[in-house]
């Protein structure tokens, strides 16, 4: 059973003085799984990653990565993992291409393999235009792309990604996520943190939510949405455009939490009971002599579930 686990954590804790950063968390991550680790700022995500990558010693508890204890078998773990940190990391004296090559050399990747992989990654991550540019002259997004691509020059079984897409535009971000999916199909396991919840939903098999150092839920994205996405939205449009009296009428309803209007004139009604609110919208529109041109129930997003979960089980620090 242990051989099937990429990460196994039992009652893991880390304290800095009298401040508890991670407070007795336990979870398991399977091999070839993308495991999302979500939480508000300061929740303990990066501290957990630093313990699992053996950069920090836990204060108490136990953790094993790829079957090796983080306290006593650090080097064995580090030989088989890759890490893309939340912060920038780059060699300031090197150009993009040389950065990738020397990073691979440091990992003892044979030169022929390094050259081949560097070429493949430069093409895959669309880095041709800055392959000869020095690290200090790269934009934040280009540097981030290099940082992610560089990690794939060496072999690994498990990749830790700590907010890897910060600063990337939507197209590059999707490109990176698709590449990660391909690598997972080839057997790579990924431990993934992000604040962009659409990414987590797109990529992760399971998600753990951590808040104030404690894990408050672990489940699949679908189940998290079902369990915690209590607030739904009904979106509708009027033939007549907009109507402030209708908004006021809906806001007065006990079933409606909020009514908002988007730039194109569409309305979004937040409620926990959309099936009751839809007839009410029609009735209110009738009373005001208005006509509803379109109406539908919007799907609950992971973000809705996440906000609801974090607010319900403890406000962010």
């Amino acid at each position: 059973m242990a051989d099937e686990l990429a990460v196994e954590v039992n009652d893991l804790a880390k304290r800095f003085g009298d401040k508890s950063a991670v407070d007795g968390i336990s979870f398991e991550m399977k091999r070839s799984e993308v495991f999302g680790f979500l939480g508000p700022n300061g929740a303990g995500k990066t501290t957990t990653i630093k313990m699992l990558t053996t950069l920090l010693q836990p204060t108490s508890g136990r953790a094993a990565v790829l079957g090796h204890d983080v306290r006593t078998e650090g080097k064995k773990i580090r030989e088989r993992i890759g890490v893309v940190q939340q912060q920038d990391s780059f060699d300031q004296g090197l150009r993009t291409e040389a950065s990738m090559d020397i990073y691979g050399m440091v990992w003892d990747v044979p030169s022929g393999v390094r050259r081949r992989r560097t070429e493949e990654l430069i093409e895959r991550f669309a880095m041709q235009e800055f392959r000869k540019t020095g690290s200090l002259d790269l934009s934040a997004g280009q540097r981030r792309r290099l940082q992610v691509a560089r990690e794939f020059v060496h072999d690994m079984d498990l990749l830790f990604l700590d907010e890897p897409t910060v600063g990337l535009d939507a197209i590059v971000r999707r490109n990176v996520l698709d590449y990660l999916k391909e690598r997972v199909k080839q057997g790579l396991s990924i431990f993934f943190t992000t604040h962009i919840l659409e990414e987590a939903e797109y990529l992760c098999d399971r998600i753990a939510v951590i808040n104030q150092g404690k894990i408050i839920a672990i489940d699949t994205p679908q189940n998290l949405k079902r369990r915690f996405g209590t607030r739904k939205a009904v979106e509708f449009r009027l033939l007549e455009g907009t109507s402030e009296p209708l908004v006021q009428a809906l806001k007065a309803s006990g079933e409606v939490s909020d009514v908002s209007q988007d730039e194109s004139g569409g309305y979004k009604v937040t409620t926990s009971k959309p099936e009751s609110v839809i007839p009410e919208i029609y009735r209110a529109a009738d009373r005001l002599g208005l006509s509803v041109s379109s109406i539908y129930i919007a799907e609950t997003t992971l973000e809705d579930a996440f906000i609801s979960l974090v607010n319900e089980k403890g406000a962010p620090r």
Partner: protein, 253 residues
């Protein structure tokens, strides 16, 4: 490839600023060719150990050992670049130990120290060459003194780079320390002829021992005192090495 070779190569390629290294090489040459000849006309030849030297010769030998301090400062800069650019943690999350990482910086510094000293020595050769009296044993002692001096100043720079919170502060503190080590040493004047308090401070300074042994090895003026100096230099380098390892282990990531 060996793990140290890989890390040292990376340190030299990724963290070595070519312009800085160029000016570090130029710096001692000003002392040799400007100060040495400028003061040479008013300072008569004098005895150092068993050798009689002109002031330009005396100063040229000392200026070559300046590269030892310069190289040491590079060790701190390498560590600061890695910390500032996020590569310090990145490397430590790779298949290396902290000891391997810190030793790779010291080894890179040693390579820089030896190469830079040799280059300055070659350029200064017209000044030094007339009085040279080198034996194989003298060359060995020169090599040991440069090695120990580089280890001391390299690990000293690592220790202060760990202790300080910004690269700007590191630059200011290391420059200040550089001048203290430089002027309170036998680079510019014989320590034995200095006033008592300066003489005492000079004999606490590892640069004095590096310079004295280097100079004696070049001009054939080795005395038993030089061997004592080498012993003190070795002890100081070992102590600074231990201190820097201790400080490095306490770096918070």
């Amino acid at each position: 490839m060996n793990v140290y070779a890989r890390l040292v190569y990376r340190n030299l390629r990724a963290n070595l600023d070519r312009i800085t290294v160029f000016f570090e090489l130029i710096f001692p040459l000003f002392f040799i060719f400007i100060q040495g000849f400028g003061l040479g006309g008013i300072i008569p030849d004098f005895k150092v150990g068993n050798a009689i030297l002109t002031y330009p010769q005396y100063l040229a030998a000392g200026a070559v050992t300046l590269t030892v301090i310069n190289s040491g400062t590079n060790a701190g800069t390498q560590l600061w670049y890695d910390r500032k650019n996020g590569m310090f943690e990145q490397i430590l999350m790779g298949p290396f130990t902290r000891a391997q990482y810190i030793l790779s910086i010291i080894l890179a510094t040693l390579i820089l120290g030896v190469v830079a000293s040799s280059l300055v020595f070659l350029i200064a050769f017209p000044v030094l060459g007339t009085g040279l009296s080198v034996t194989p044993f003298g060359v060995l002692l020169i090599a040991v003194s440069v090695f120990l001096g580089t280890v001391f100043f390299g690990t000293f720079a690592i220790a202060i780079s760990v202790a300080l919170r910004s690269s700007e502060t590191f630059q200011i503190v290391s420059t200040f320390a550089f001048f203290v080590f430089l002027f309170v040493s036998s680079v510019f004047y014989p320590a034995s002829d200095a006033p008592g308090p300066i003489q005492l401070a000079t004999f606490l300074n590892p640069l004095t021992y590096t310079t004295d042994v280097f100079r004696a090895g070049l001009f054939g003026g080795l005395t038993p005192f030089n061997f004592l100096e080498l012993g003190v230099l070795a002890a100081e380098s070992a102590a600074m090495f231990a201190l820097s390892v201790y400080a490095f282990r306490r770096i918070r990531v």
